[in-house]
């Protein structure tokens, strides 16, 4: 355990692969990227010291190919594998295979993962560690009849959840028994497809809860600390959309109670590395354990910004057997951080994914802005993976300023050629309910159900000057366009044609 890690294989893609590769560079470690055919031109391939092809684009033929990844680790001499999030990150068989192959898995041991990775197992472990949890089954449902019995027992409404779940897949709310059969079928088939396991269990549905999670770090020397909470209540279809740290609903006493509960759970499972305990918190500030994510989270940057720590550095240090370089008392939260997950999807069109070529990319920067990004101008968003493009994160001394800063950054941000959810964030961050932190897991669905005419998009007072400016800009673009098409036989792309014409017509460069 005490030999230092020298070379890390990053078994992932997109922004998280790049984020881990950056950490490797900062720690002076060699790095190995792997890629599918769809990702040959992706940023993580060029960022690593070495890169090897996994296979065709489909995840099952590339990023989920345990055998290929271990083979590449062996051939390249990588002595550690960072799984990122998604893909193999919560796959205990993969962790076990790494252990057998003598390659460090940068995550918990396969045994700790087995105790916590499956949601049903985690609920059993939580019971043993005396954590409050949502009433419901701790076993996968064997039949519709069993589902009906458990649901009646805890009382409707209930939630169906995939035992292997994550990212909101395989989840269904069920209001009454008449919906149960259909929901169970849907949840099972979705879980089967997403995780290769159709195991589903039942939980009581907590009314208007907040989704709040505790970030943990545990080393191999028995030290386990919590790094405060993240507020993840802004969700759509159980997928997080906006995350923040700290939560407006958590005071120091509640933080300590939730943090201690999470530490108890991790220690009961012999957990090491970074992990996240998810809780529901009701209006009376009761908290209920939901599940444990035995990996780095998408939203880890908000914790990094308020604690000043680097979770990926710490994951690597823990994996090579270093003790945590601080204790619980050293962890001090300061300021407020908000993350927006920028996706290639069209909120105006049922959140349909929008793969395709990013023809233009203007990015935000300046004070308090961090971007963890896996895209570039000219890159084509592939069809084969989750459509996350980038994470924009704002930090400021207060929540109110962090919101204004994020709005400022969103104003600077532009993705051309494909639809994104950037305008949705403008709407959320401008909404009175969000700004007063009156959010629960149903908040976003309610906001989306409101007529969009009440938002800043079209509800603003008509600004004649701005309309004139837009019209003049359109005419200038068009004039250059037509001139280009006429004089150059229409071969140039609009932007280039406009550029060329601009130059010809003496517009200052």
């Amino acid at each position: 355990m005490n030999k230092k890690i020298q070379k890390v294989l990053v078994a992932n893609r997109g922004e998280i692969a790049l984020r881990i590769l950056r950490a490797c560079r900062e720690l002076g470690l060699s790095s190995v990227a792997v890629y599918s055919d769809a990702d040959r031109a992706s940023l993580h391939v060029g960022y690593a010291d070495e890169a090897y092809r996994l296979g065709p684009s489909a995840a099952t033929e590339s990023y989920l190919r345990t055998d290929r990844i271990l083979e590449i680790a062996r051939q390249s001499g990588a002595d550690a594998i960072h799984p990122g999030y998604g893909f193999l990150s919560e796959n205990a068989e993969f962790a076990a295979a790494c252990e057998q192959a003598g390659v460090r898995f940068i995550g918990p041991s396969s045994s700790a993962m087995r105790m916590l990775g499956s949601k049903t197992k985690a609920r059993q472990t939580a019971d043993a560690a005396d954590l409050p949890r949502v009433p419901g089954s701790t076993q996968a449902l064997g039949s519709l009849a069993e589902a009906k019995r458990v649901a009646l027992d805890v009382g409707y409404p209930v939630m169906l959840k995939a035992a292997a779940g994550g990212g909101g897949k395989g989840m269904r709310a069920v209001a009454s028994e008449s919906e149960l059969a259909g929901a169970l079928e849907n949840a099972t088939s979705e879980a089967e497809r997403a995780f290769g396991s159709g195991e589903v269990y039942i939980e009581k549905l907590i009314q208007q809860p907040r989704h709040i999670e505790i970030q943990l770090l545990a080393d191999h020397h028995g030290n386990c600390v919590y790094l405060g909470e993240r507020e993840c209540s802004v969700q759509r279809r159980h997928q997080k959309v906006v995350e923040e740290a700290p939560s407006a609903a958590v005071d120091e006493a509640l933080r300590r109670r939730m943090g201690s509960a999470a530490v108890r759970l991790a220690q009961a499972a012999g957990y090491t590395n970074a992990g996240t305990a998810e809780f529901l918190v009701d209006a009376e500030r009761n908290f209920y354990f939901l599940e444990m994510n035995t990996r780095l989270q998408v939203e880890h940057p908000v914790t990094e910004l308020v604690t000043g720590l680097d979770l990926v550095h710490l994951q690597i240090q823990i994996a090579q057997g270093d003790p945590l370089p601080f204790t619980q008392q050293d962890v001090v939260l300061r300021g407020h951080a908000i993350e927006c997950r920028i996706y290639a999807e069209d909120p105006e069109n049922g959140f349909m994914p929008s793969p395709g070529k990013i023809t233009r990319l203007l990015q935000a920067s300046g004070p308090g802005i961090r971007e963890d990004c896996g895209i570039y101008e000219g890159w084509t968003v592939p069809l084969d993976y989750d459509p996350i493009l980038s994470k924009l994160i704002a930090y400021a001394p207060t929540r109110a300023l962090a919101i204004e800063r994020m709005l400022r950054a969103l104003q600077e941000y532009h993705v051309g050629g494909i639809a994104t959810n950037v305008n949705l964030f403008r709407r959320i961050l401008s909404d009175r309910g969000f700004r007063s932190a009156e959010i629960d897991t149903g908040y976003l669905e309610r906001l989306l159900a409101e007529s969009s005419t009440s938002t800043l998009e079209s509800g603003a007072v008509r600004d004649n000057d701005a309309e004139n400016a837009a019209t003049i800009a359109a005419a200038i673009f068009e004039q250059s366009q037509i001139a280009a098409e006429t004089k150059e036989n229409g071969n140039a792309a609009p932007a280039n044609a406009w550029k060329a014409t601009g130059r010809r017509e003496g517009m200052r460069l």
């Binding site: 532009h414 359109a474 004039q479």
Partner: protein
């Protein structure tokens, strides 16, 4: 150059006149004269100064659609002037009583929720398609009757492929 531009729910008439080789333009907009100072920055970004107010605009074509991004807003527009080549290519495609529900992107059909001959309401779910790891329901664009279902569960579909016909 004179244009008619349909933008933001209005049809505007606009004429651009360069003053000279500098950055200033004289603009006739719906009969009113406006002085605009226009400079290209960052490749395709236009900086416009009008009466001291500063605007940053960039073209944002997406598929067939032309649009201007101005600040936080994306404003689609069409050129009504007959000299515009693009406006001509976008004519046709008149609306009839038949609605074709097409695949918006490549994906796989998971479930079909209606059957031929069934009456559907506007926004009623027709089928479930999986694309980019997400299942999405495709909804009916209007009320009517399902006259044809061109796919079945398990089919892989391509963008713009017709899936369901509603009359």
């Amino acid at each position: 150059m004179k244009y008619k531009i349909d933008i933001d729910g209005r049809t505007r008439e606009i004429e651009l006149i360069r003053n000279s080789e500098n950055t200033r333009w004289r603009v006739m907009l719906d009969g009113r004269e406006i002085e605009a100072d226009a400079v290209r920055v960052q490749r395709d970004v236009l900086s416009l100064l009008i009466d001291g107010r500063s605007y940053t605009a960039l073209p944002d074509p997406r598929g067939d659609e032309t649009a201007v991004v101005l600040g936080a807003r994306r404003i689609p527009y069409t050129i009504a002037d007959p000299r515009s080549l693009r406006s001509r290519s976008r004519t046709g495609a008149a609306q009839t009583g038949t609605r074709l529900v097409k695949a918006p992107m490549p994906g796989r059909i998971i479930r079909v929720l209606v059957h031929p001959g069934e009456s559907v309401a506007a926004h009623q779910g027709l089928l479930v398609m999986e694309a980019m790891k997400m299942q999405n329901e495709l909804k009916s664009p209007s009320s009517g009757t399902v006259t044809r279902i061109a796919v079945q569960p398990g089919d892989t579909v391509q963008p713009a492929q017709v899936l369901v016909t509603i009359e």
